[in-house]
Amino acid sequence: MIHTGAAVVIPVMIAYADCAPFALVPRRAWTRRVAKSMEPTANPAEMTALLASVGKARDKAAFELLFVHFAPRVKSYLLRLGANAALAEDLAQEAMLIVWRKAGLFDPAKASASTWIFTIARNLRIDAMRREKRPEFDPDDPTLVPDEEPQADAQLSRDDESARLRLALTKLSPDQAQVVEMSFFADKPHRQIASELNLPLGTVKSRLRLAMARIRTALGGEA
């Protein structure tokens, strides 16, 4: 085995799963998982409203609801990326503190709550686990070249996109799902993915490109 079990399990899981892309679920646990996935999931619009309320009103009750939903998912993400249990717990708490501090900067026209919290968790783990900075543009930088046209219905589409995206991700081919997985949950740049899967670099890039095309279609962008 060159790489971890993840890459082997995913194609199987993708073929069976409708609601839980990329979770590492043994087949025998599938029945239990399907039942669980039928439970109502968080309403993205509600999560966005809670986050906006934390930003505007420093609403602790709203923050608790966000915490209950997102902290265990952020912890899960960090564990997948190799944090031990204690570190994942600490960083998940830290991520939620950053959510509290930065909620006023959250722009629902730009991202859903889960996307915004994903970027916080991602940056925190790069900082804490890789000990590198995460360079990012600053949307308030006067030197930034502004967006061409503001989208009037952006909020509606951002909240709505989560479900469409999850569906699109379950429909990636096993090959595409594997390289997307290795990008998001194994911290692997293209060349490392290519070397671990023993594939030409161009193949890895084209699989990721096709995955991006699926994501773009799911979000209603032009292909």
Partner: protein
């Protein structure tokens, strides 16, 4: 002025996933500051990250985790947007060079080429390269992947003309030579994995330039 050369979708996906290293991320993020089109592509890839986070199997937090965070909220003041003065260098690059492109401590490599290291992490590094108007940079081979973005001026190689905001990715083994536009110096932010190999006299100079 519109940008003609962009990073690939798959590179933006890796950046959004957090899989690119600091030097590569610096080049990509600086392009994003100048390119609304690529910001939108990156936002889509980040939305995929949000969907994956949403779909992650929750792992129970420790008992008392919320209370512990709650007790720290008062010490966590609300973050505010940073006021920034207009500049010829967008974030995140500006924070790395500590201001504008003026008054930098360039290291002269040879006539017409100067260099300024910014980030070094393992094998990859990011640096600024300045070439004088009309300078020709002779045929050289990239021994590793290189990503670059133009900040001022422009240059031409066999693949096209590159101006402010334009992005170029070269793979290991790619060969090219460039000619800097006339009029003003060309400043490029570049990430490279290995030193360039020049076909000619400059090998030793370039080796010193990159600190290898």
């Amino acid at each position: 002025m519109s940008i003609a050369h962009h990073p690939s979708d798959e590179l933006l996906l890796s950046y959004a996933a957090g899989a690119t290293d600091e030097a590569a991320s610096l080049v990509i993020a600086t392009h994003l500051a100048l390119c609304p089109i690529c910001r939108e592509v990156t936002a889509r890839a980040e939305a995929a990250g949000g969907a994956l986070l949403e779909a992650a199997e929750p792992v129970a937090m420790d008992a008392g985790a919320f209370k512990s965070v709650l007790s720290r909220l008062e010490d966590a003041p609300a973050a505010k947007p940073q006021a920034r003065a207009p500049s010829n260098v967008p974030e995140p690059l500006r924070s790395y060079i500590g201001g504008d492109l003026d008054n930098l401590h360039w290291k002269k490599v040879t006539e017409g080429i100067a260099f300024l290291p910014l980030v070094k992490h393992g094998k990859t590094r990011a640096h600024l390269v300045r070439t004088e108007p009309g300078a020709a940079v002779g045929l050289h081979t990239h021994r590793g992947e290189e990503l670059s973005i133009v900040l001022t001026g422009g240059y031409t190689d066999a693949t096209g003309h590159y101006r402010r905001g334009d992005f170029q990715a070269t793979a290991a083994g790619d060969e090219h030579s460039t000619v800097t536009d006339r009029g003003e110096p060309c400043v490029v932010l570049a990430m490279s994995e290995a030193p360039l190999r020049f076909h000619g006299l400059m090998d030793a100079l370039i080796a010193r330039w990159f600190g290898f």
